[in-house]
């Protein structure tokens, strides 16, 4: 009898507890902080589910970058008066909505418990394809993302571009072209500067490493990109660097590099391997790594751009 089951239960309770806190906290900022902690713990659950890739992504994106985004927003809105968003719901409303939410959650739990056994799985197909379209990648997740379901991945990158443009478009007309507002206050001797100076290079190296090993081990462009993004954001928060102008050609090129290369590779598929988004067996791995490198770049730029928000000030 190992202690793991007890740890599992404790982890589950802790996570649900934090979720309750996130929902129930009276103060907006407390709720945001609760959510960030929750995200970190959730990464542990993913580890227990044998999903290290997801755990990395959840830690970096779901908790880390999202956390920065929400905390920044929470701070800016913190000054706002309570109740300005509208009246708090009445008790009857709470009970009714709560009952319905409970019903849906209960139905969901019931359905999860009766999922068919043995579970259907595409793992055998993925294993069979590992040497073909999978191109000998040791990490099946990377194979899925860049080969079997590459189309999803490319579209998701387009979604990121749109999100960046969407965020920018919320800004004022006169600010168009300028840089977003800085992420933090200037304090040349603060701890954050020190942290950033120490952490950012190390983190960046780890990020690139995660990307590089992602072909065979857990990791890949997403996780590596997210880590790089986090490092850049730390640097921006410490005001070591500033967010770039949104009309900078280099920024735009970096943002579209991933989907553009992906798209071109996909279009070249019929010439190389007889089908769109197919890669020739002999060169599949290098091609995939090549695509991933640009994706890494795009993610590393897109996530901070999303956090930094719309351009502010005047464009000239």
């Amino acid at each position: 009898m190992s202690v793991l089951p007890f740890l599992d239960v404790a982890l589950a309770l802790l996570i649900v507890g934090l979720a309750v806190w996130t929902i129930a906290a009276r103060v907006l900022f407390a709720s945001v902080v609760g959510y960030v902690a929750y995200g970190l713990l959730l990464a542990l659950v993913w580890v227990r589910l044998y999903a290290p890739d997801v755990a990395l992504t959840e830690a970096a994106v779901g908790s880390g970058v999202t956390g920065v985004l929400l905390i920044t927003a929470g701070k800016r809105l913190g000054a706002a008066r309570a109740g300005e968003a509208g009246p708090a719901p009445g008790l009857a409303q709470k009970l009714f909505a709560g009952a319905l939410a409970l019903l849906v959650a209960g139905a969901l739990a019931a359905v999860i418990l009766i999922l068919p056994d043995p579970a259907p799985s595409l793992a055998p197909q993925a294993a069979a394809a590992a040497d073909g379209p999978g191109a000998g990648l040791g990490n099946p997740i990377t194979a899925v993302l860049i080969s079997y379901r590459s189309f999803d991945t490319m579209l998701e990158k387009v979604v990121l571009i749109l999100a960046v443009l969407g965020v920018w478009s919320v800004g004022a007309d006169k600010a168009w072209g300028a840089a977003p507002a800085p992420l933090g206050q200037r304090n040349p001797y603060g701890a954050s500067v020190f942290l950033a100076q120490m952490l950012a290079p190390v983190g960046a190296v780890i990020g690139v490493h995660i990307f590089w090993v992602g072909a065979d081990a857990p990791g890949g462009a997403f996780q590596g990109g997210a880590l790089l993004a986090a490092m850049w954001m730390i640097a921006m928060m410490a005001r070591i660097t500033e967010p770039p102008r949104i009309d900078a050609r280099r920024l735009r090129l970096a943002l579209v590099a991933g989907p553009a290369v992906f798209l071109i590779a996909g279009l070249a598929g019929p010439l190389m391997a007889g089908s769109f988004f197919a890669f020739p067996h002999a060169f599949a791995k290098p091609i995939i790594l090549f695509i991933e490198a640009f994706m890494l770049l795009s993610i590393a730029v897109a996530l901070p751009a999303l956090v930094a928000g719309p351009p502010s000030g005047r464009s000239e």
Partner: protein, 113 residues
């Protein structure tokens, strides 16, 4: 109780909690937090589906896991867009309410429309 069952129950609980918050919290940022809770609950459902699909030497089914990674990035992008809107709305009007009545005014739909 195997970890996947536990994770499934946690997922369902997160969905329920998130639904409650998303429906009732008047503040849009709180709604966004609740949306993210539902999101992670849904991803957990994908996670247990992946875990249960362990076969052929894999300890998980890679397809649903890959979907979660895509899903997390999309959810983040959505959050960022929502935050930008909330902040801008707050900066423009000093309010963040979603109550439709609060935004109707005798407006003649002038040249802007």
């Amino acid at each position: 109780m195997s970890p996947w069952v536990l994770a499934g129950l946690v997922g369902a609980a997160l969905v329920g909690l998130g639904l409650y918050g998303l429906i009732l919290h008047p503040h849009p940022l709180r709604k966004l937090l609740a949306f993210n809770l539902i999101g992670s609950g849904v991803f957990l459902v994908f996670g247990i589906v992946a875990r249960r699909g362990a076969a052929a030497g894999f300890s998980f089914d890679p397809i649903p896991q890959a979907m979660v990674i895509t899903g997390i990035v999309v959810a983040f992008a959505a959050s960022a867009l929502a935050v930008a809107l909330i902040l801008r709305l707050h900066a423009e009007s000093g309010r963040v309410t979603l109550d439709p009545e609060a935004w109707t005014k005798p407006d003649d739909g002038a040249a802007k429309s």
